[in-house]
Symmetry: C2
Subunit: 278 residues, 2 copies
Amino acid sequence: MALVVDGKKLAQEILEEVRSEISAIKKKVRLASVLVGSNSASISFLKEKERACELAGIDFRLYRFPENITTSQLRARLAEIVHLPQNTGVILQLPLAEHLNTQYLLNAITPQKDVDCLSEGSLGAFIVGRHKILPPPVAALKFICEKFGITTIGKLTVVIGAGRLVGKPIAAWLMQQETNVVSLNEHTKNIGEFTRRADIIVSGVGQPHIIRPDMVREGVVVFDFGFSKQDEKIVGDVEFDEVSEKASLITPVPGGLGPLTVTFLVKNLLTLASTPKR
Amino acid sequence: MALVVDGKKLAQEILEEVRSEISAIKKKVRLASVLVGSNSASISFLKEKERACELAGIDFRLYRFPENITTSQLRARLAEIVHLPQNTGVILQLPLAEHLNTQYLLNAITPQKDVDCLSEGSLGAFIVGRHKILPPPVAALKFICEKFGITTIGKLTVVIGAGRLVGKPIAAWLMQQETNVVSLNEHTKNIGEFTRRADIIVSGVGQPHIIRPDMVREGVVVFDFGFSKQDEKIVGDVEFDEVSEKASLITPVPGGLGPLTVTFLVKNLLTLASTPKR
């Protein structure tokens, strides 16, 4: 039976530490969140971020724009939001509508305020291992590895999904850790062929139950970043009940990596806010 | 029997195209090369770069510094070299001595002149797919794929070696191409387990003959970035004679990816020099 990571409890502990550090630096800290349109999943993710900010004693300000805003209009508004000194950190809630140039818009957030670590400048510093912060999903994964003594060096890690938010940054970070990394995507025909050999599986696809018990080996470590709805229930990418019987450690959905990822977003805000400007 | 890529001939053709484009833009173009110490491999790589510049009608200027220069001294000199308008492109020949902070030094090269695409700024733009140039080894690989109709989407590509110059940028680029990527490193115990399933193998280790014929399947495509000396002969990572009998396409060493990589360094210089400043 696997150790099931209680992400909610760990998140709360870290947020309390952040709260006391925030009050120690005696500086007003505010997370500015930019939402375009009214995607219900985006709204509920932002609610989680607002709640985490509250727990950490951080102001939260939501900027909303209509779905039909153009890239150049939004880029101009983002630049204003980023340059306001009250906004110590800025996030642009993804995904954006098809007609918007996502990366160009993310690049409007300067690395000093880019708590999600998604701009070109932040990613460059991250990729060479010289950034002060990590992308929140990477920070959450690293935290669990350190907390529970999971070493990555020389291991075989299979990363399912190659998206901007999870798969790509996780794979890039694992390569820095001298792990053997297998990066799979939606074109992979036989995921099980790889996952059955894996010491560590990281999934960030958002399709219910693509990782079944026959696809993993005894003692595997499973990180589930998946998040989807099935029969009105929130589920991850992993068939939790059966896979957890074979795994040595597993993160549940909900209550696993989700709350920890939000927590490290907030912690990044503290790190950047307390670093003197270059 | 494999198609053997004649990198030398292809390189010459591309350099002649670059030569006519350079004369068309009517602008003096110069590659500034920075060499620290007197590593003989570094000196011979720089000679290759100088020769390619000559063929393309580009000035070449070598700046040499003693082995015992400090990071801050070298960073200051690099900044001067980069800011000279005559130097349209700047490279820092790697590897550097242990006591030097390689990435910090590479970051002194502004993206507009960073033809090797190794600074944080260049890598950030590359990683999100928004750069005007590609790291030269990536450009060489992409060129061969396009020239010989090799598609990467949905394929299984095994990348051996996770270094700064070859393995990391190649793996990052392949992930953008929706390939399934396996990144292996010096801690991998059983490389053959992965290479035997591979549609495409990319090796950038620099150890003679680590890829043997029993480790590949019929029809595989093999890219050999390896470069080492064995009995005074230059050899790649692949046992060329036997592996080429099974492969559908293979790059030899010498005369394969080496000349093409140098060529795309020179082509990057043209691309950056003919792009208006942002």
